[in-house]
Symmetry: C2
Subunit: 339 residues, 2 copies
DNA sequence: CTCCCTGTTGACAGCGCTGTCTAACCAAGC
DNA sequence: GCTTGGTTAGACAGCGCTGTCAACAGGGAG
């Protein structure tokens, strides 16, 4: 046995023990061609004996790329993004990439910092759920890194966007409520500066417009803060002289608040449709009808697209829209009973 | 203006433009002492102009460490861990560390692979929610990396463990049910090979023992698979000749299934306590009483401990147990009414 | 005036790896 | 025999950075 290298073994250690050059070790480890079977087996054996693993920092320094995919979302604690990220992780790992996650908390400045941090690390690709605000800096910061936007984009990004047709999905939901006789339908949105929320609100307005209805401002609660679990707005709505007979909640977070409020006030006669599914939506009485906005579907499509781009495929930037089936569970099928 | 460096600027570019040596640039960037104010300001200006950012790969190659904290959990999609990870991320970032997350899906082999991947990357510290199975390999794989176990440990790990007193928390919950007259109390657990589940089951048994009760095997559902959303077991329990009058669910996932089943069968007269809170637990009728098992609290304590270790503080490996208050919402306060 | 000390700066090696280029080797063909 | 060409292997530079050590200037003490 040769002397034991202290610390982590390097290509030099392997080369010395195997009696070959470091370049040959590198070739074996990277599965490059030009190594005879005999040599390859010998080297692999030594690699195993010594427990050699490549040092990604050194490799990244030479190659300028790190086999890592960056994922930047509002918050990993948000169930929608948690689920999205977890699918990305699995799929990326299968393709040989590790995943780096970062949260923006919807803060444009933090988003920018996170992007900067990731580009520093020579990520191979980027998945981003952009927050509101200007992204003029983006091209300069993320230059040359393949990127795919998830869930939402910004005008003129020139990038792939994988998401759903927010406007059409919302419109379909509100049209169902209208069809049941509802005329006073409230809108719940967390922040209309977010394009998704804005599009869903547009769909809501489309449906009302088409039915010849205008929106009483007191029913249009489109800027509930991220912090407000939505409950407060619903309490207020219920106390109006002419309360809404139906709610359209534009995302899971506001829906959780709305459900809480409706149940507290025992007003489960109020119809409700949520854009975005959530745990227990099916267990409530009545079950909550949702426009299904499946994170796994979006993640899968987005990673596949990104991997194709990383692989060098030349693709025209496209908006990939996934379907949003209406899952009827009861709350969205309550007809309008005059109170 | 000097010629524009193509690609990303390096210390050489900054040094050349500023008319100093690369070492001085390095000193300024790393805030090392021994640079005059004048030089520092000059260099910073050039850094700004050129948009210089350090290359972490190169730095990591030299220093052998990457200012990254690795976090390995069952799954980022699990709300408990999602919340834990998100708190870790924020806190680590504030301390100048970025976060790498990986899921094990409770697969010991995958856990090992993820650990290996992270050690390769020269992480500065590790937070791990160990899955079941032997961890004999651990010391050899993760040598020299400060590590803190979260939520659960394994016997003889010799590492810090930050979690809750599963056994005592579970016992307190079951004792409350016993106090209300319940005698047939079912246990729901996802996998008794997980130490947390095992401890909670032990607490359940402790309480019954102390009350002089034995556990009918048909009420002890301790190995529901991860995939089973728990519902099935509860349907079966409800159809027993002598169904349980109360459920003790040992984690949020099984609780979600149980709630679903109880509500489907309209058996909200069955008492229930969940170990672990979940969304809408308070909105249900009745609200679900929970043993609060707060991921944010655990994350905070764990990161702080890890940062102290990374900082070189010499600490005796400790088990840090956080409180698990019983949050009474109704379902755990239903007394036993003979059906 | 010299010596030494402190504060500031730079030259240079080398972290572990891959890309480029060259060398050695063997078989086939003239 | 020598050339040609393909395959396998190695020498070496250099990716961008930090650690070590040496150099040098300025100023107070002897």
């Amino acid at each position: 046995m040769t002397e034991f290298p202290t610390g982590r073994p390097t290509v030099y250690d392997v080369a010395r023990v195997a009696g070959v050059s470091i370049k040959t070790v590198s070739r074996v480890v990277n599965r490059s061609s030009g190594v005879s079977d005999k040599t390859r087996r010998l080297v692999l054996e030594v690699v195993n004996d010594l427990g050699y693993v490549v040092n990604p920092a050194a490799r990244s320094l030479v190659t300028g790329s790190s086999s890592t995919i960056g994922v930047i979302v509002d918050s990993i604690a948000d169930p929608f993004f948690a689920s999205l990220v977890s699918v990305v992780e699995v799929r990326a790992l299968a393709a040989g990439f590790s995943t780096q996650v970062a949260s923006t908390w919807r803060d444009p400045q933090l988003e920018r910092d996170q992007l900067l941090r990731m580009t520093r690390e020579n990520i191979s690709g980027l998945l981003l759920a952009p927050t509101m605000g200007d992204h003029d800096y983006f091209a300069a910061t993320v230059k040359d890194v393949p990127a795919v936007l998830v869930d939402r984009g910004w005008p003129g990004s020139g990038l792939d966007v994988v998401g759903v047709n927010d406007r059409a999905g919302a419109r379909a939901a509100v049209e169902q409520l209208l069809g049941l006789g509802h005329r006073r339908i409230a809108f719940l949105g967390d922040d209309s500066k977010l394009t998704t929320t804005a599009h869903r609100r547009a769909g809501y307005l489309d449906a009302l417009d088409a039915a010849g209805l205008s929106v009483p401002p007191e029913l249009d609660r489109h800027s509930l803060l991220m912090a407000d679990p939505g409950g407060k707005a619903v309490f207020e709505l219920l106390e109006l002289d002419e309360p809404p007979t139906a709610l359209f909640s534009s995302n899971s977070r506001t829906s959780l608040g709305a459900v809480r409020a409706l149940h507290k006030r025992r007003r489960t006669d109020v119809a409700m449709i949520s854009f975005g599914d959530f745990d227990l939506a099916d267990a409530l009485e009545p079950g909550i009808t949702v426009v299904d906005h499946d994170p796994a579907l979006i993640a899968t499509a987005a990673v596949d697209r990104l991997l194709a781009r990383i692989g060098g495929t030349d693709l025209v930037p496209t908006e990939i829209l996934l379907p949003t089936p209406l899952v009827k569970r009861g709350s969205g099928e309550l007809s309008c009973s005059p109170s």
